[in-house]
């Protein structure tokens, strides 16, 4: 409902009217309607205030009352934990709000994610060249993961392994080790001999192995300035023998 319509309801009825069929005041009805409209997405308190066009104090009072009548509930939005969100009780929070399978009570379940990564990495190593489907297949047959996870969850985990530099993403060219995989299909491979054990830790580059290369103050460092190579504490530490 648009803001215009909501305000016109207000204009037609007296603001302090108390008689409604559900035992809700006019203001409570407006607030409830606004929240209900958002279904399983829930609504941020500030947005409720803006959409209903009511005074802050009235909205706050209405929300307390609607909660007491068990018509709305407060929900956590993983993306904005500091912002209070409300939802009509009949809806279950969407995965966008809860964060989905990888969140527990609005908190990222790092332990679970790490276990998932470990299992997927193990399977890729076993398979040498893996596709999303072959990893899934392996995991299903081994029964390693009990949680109810969909294909896209595994795709996200494999994507994270690539970003961690644990595995590399390559496209099959249909030859050699990719013989059984159609050309152009995305595959995952663990690194060659040299990289095993060194994964997730890229080779230390030239810059990363000296203080200036990773220095947070490099932008303010000048030969004769307050921060300078001759007075630098990072150098002092690096050159301690």
């Amino acid at each position: 409902m648009s803001r215009f319509k909501l305000s016109s309801i207000l204009k037609r009825k007296r603001p302090d009217s108390t008689s409604t069929s559900q035992g809700l005041t006019d203001q409570e009805q407006i607030v409830y309607k606004v929240i209900h409209e958002k279904e399983n997405m829930g609504m941020w308190l500030r947005d409720i205030k803006r959409r209903s066009n009511l005074q802050d104090a009235i909205v706050n009072k209405s929300i307390i009352s609607l909660q007491a009548k068990n018509m709305i509930k407060e929900v956590v939005n993983v993306k904005n934990k500091g912002k209070k969100h409300y939802m009509a009780v009949e809806f279950e929070p969407s995965t966008e709000l809860t964060g989905g399978a990888f969140y527990d009570d609005g908190i990222l379940n790092v332990e679970f994610i790490n276990i998932m990564k470990k299992i997927c990495l193990q399977k890729i190593k076993q398979l040498k060249v893996a596709t999303l489907e072959s990893v899934l297949q392996q995991i299903k047959t081994s029964g390693a993961i009990k949680a109810d996870l969909k294909e896209h969850h595994f795709e996200e985990i494999l994507g994270a392994l690539v970003l961690d530099n644990e595995v590399m993403e390559v496209k099959s060219n249909g030859m050699g080790e990719f013989g059984a995989i159609p050309e152009g299909k995305v595959c995952y491979k663990a690194f060659g001999k040299q990289r095993v054990g060194a994964a997730a830790e890229p080779g230390i580059g030239a810059m990363a192995s000296m203080p200036c290369g990773v220095c947070p103050r490099i932008r303010s460092c000048t030969p004769d300035g307050v921060v300078s190579p001759s007075t630098c504490v990072y150098f002092q530490k690096w050159l301690e023998f």
């Binding site: 803006r50 993983v78 993306k79 990888f102 990222l108 790092v110 994610i113 996200e156 994507g159 994270a160 690539v162 970003l163 961690d164 530099n165 390559v170 496209k171 099959s172 060219n173 030859m175 050699g176 080790e177 990719f178 060659g192 001999k193 040299q194 990289r195 830790e201 890229p202 080779g203 230390i204 580059g205 030239a206 810059m207 990363a208 192995s209 000296m210 200036c212 290369g213 990773v214 220095c215 947070p216 490099i218 932008r219 460092c221 030969p223 300078s228 190579p229 001759s230 630098c232 150098f235 690096w238 050159l239 023998f241």
Partner: protein
Amino acid sequence: MVSQHGILYAVHLITNQFGNLVAKVCECLLRNGALTLQAIVRRTELSPAKVRNCLLVLIQHNCVQAFILEESVSGEDAGEPGKALTLYIALFVNILHRVRFSKFMDVVSKELGGSCGELFRGLLEHGRLTVKQIVDRAGANAKESTNTVQEDLGKLVMAHYVECCPAPEPLVPPPDADTKKRAKSSKVMVEPLTLEQRVMAVAMPSVMRRFSFVPNADQVADDQQNVNQPPSKDVGEKRKLHDLESDTALEEEVECNWRANFEELLRRLRHKACVDTIKVRFDDAAATVLSAMLEASRAEEDKVKTANSVPLSLNTIYEEVVKNEKNHSMTFDHVRTCLEELSCPPTFVKTDDESYSIDFTKITEAAQSEEIESIVLKRFGETAYKIFRLLFRAGCLMETDKIADRIFVEKKETSKTLFKMWQDGYLLMEKLVVGGTATGPSYGGSSYLLWKVNKRLLRETVLDEMFHAALNLNLRLAHEIDQNKEVLNLPPDKREGPDKQKFDRLRNVRLLIHSSLMKLDEAIMLFHDF
């Protein structure tokens, strides 16, 4: 355009090797581009004689090139038509090469042996030399050793490690009108040549002349009899004589100065860097195959930054692989498998019709992003490393929430890291307001922050930081030496107790800084030259 710290670093190198005056002139050219002698005099407030001497030193060491702009000779707007103005331009990259001499020496000595290496060292130390000067330097008076020196020089020229020097003051035409037109009509972006590139293009002798050296012991002997006459007069005399016979002969016989050909040496170092990258990403066998491909296509490469090697057949590659005794155990199939591996995306080797060619650009980019990734990891931490890899691969704008989801990190931490990286110039940020009024998101809209890695800008930022870091390492070394002057001046038998400790520490400091500088220079080459 050379970055700020690039200039500071180059000036530092010149100061160290040629002193403050020469460095002042060099800095003036690096900061202002090509200038006439008078303009340098005005800006540096040095006497014309001093500036001229400094320029001669810089030219002798291939750090400056003189030239005449054709516009200044014939331009109608020119105040005095027909009056040619000589301009001087600093060759930034050649200044950087001065720290690579040991790497260049290594390449030459390994490939052509110690005596060629020794001769080559002379050229690096003196910048440019005539055959006679080369022979004199080798102390070769007897005709026999003269022959050996000339043979070595012949080998160096043949391998393109040594070249005939560019023309001293070439006439540089205005930018080619044709090139401009082509750049306009072509869909592919054609970068216009820089003034430095245009100058060097006309200054360099033709390939024939650049790499043709005919050993001639008699000529050197003749030259030795005329030691008292300036070389230019010698050349003049010879010219007159040959003039009577033929013009072509004259062109070939004019005595030229010889110098190290940095381009070829850089190409060799680029090859080495490519092989190293492949070795880390794949294995020794893949690196061997790549080496063989580089060797087989070497003769066809004519630029440092060649994007692709010429296509090679599997047979040619295999033949090249087994030329090396170490690789005799490699089978034809093994070579083919390596090539198949290398041709998987990211396609370091391109295949077409049973032929294979190396994609240098892809290999270089892979090595560059590895270097940047390692900086990001150490400087900003693991979350930043993941963010960087995500955005670098995506190549487009991405919203904070989406980034947090993809890397499995809480939004708050993701946001904090993104800001840190943005402040240091590693990311670009854009604010997007959706559904709000003109007065902003507070009137009903939402605002989103979008992030992106701009690869070109990032490479420039990182390169400038590399120059800064190299300068700092040099300054710190100078500071350490200055602080320990007294200990350094003590005779070895007087170095005891704390003095000995200080001395030993300084030795370690030197070793660490020198090795870091060498490594850093390899990274600078990766970003600046390859």
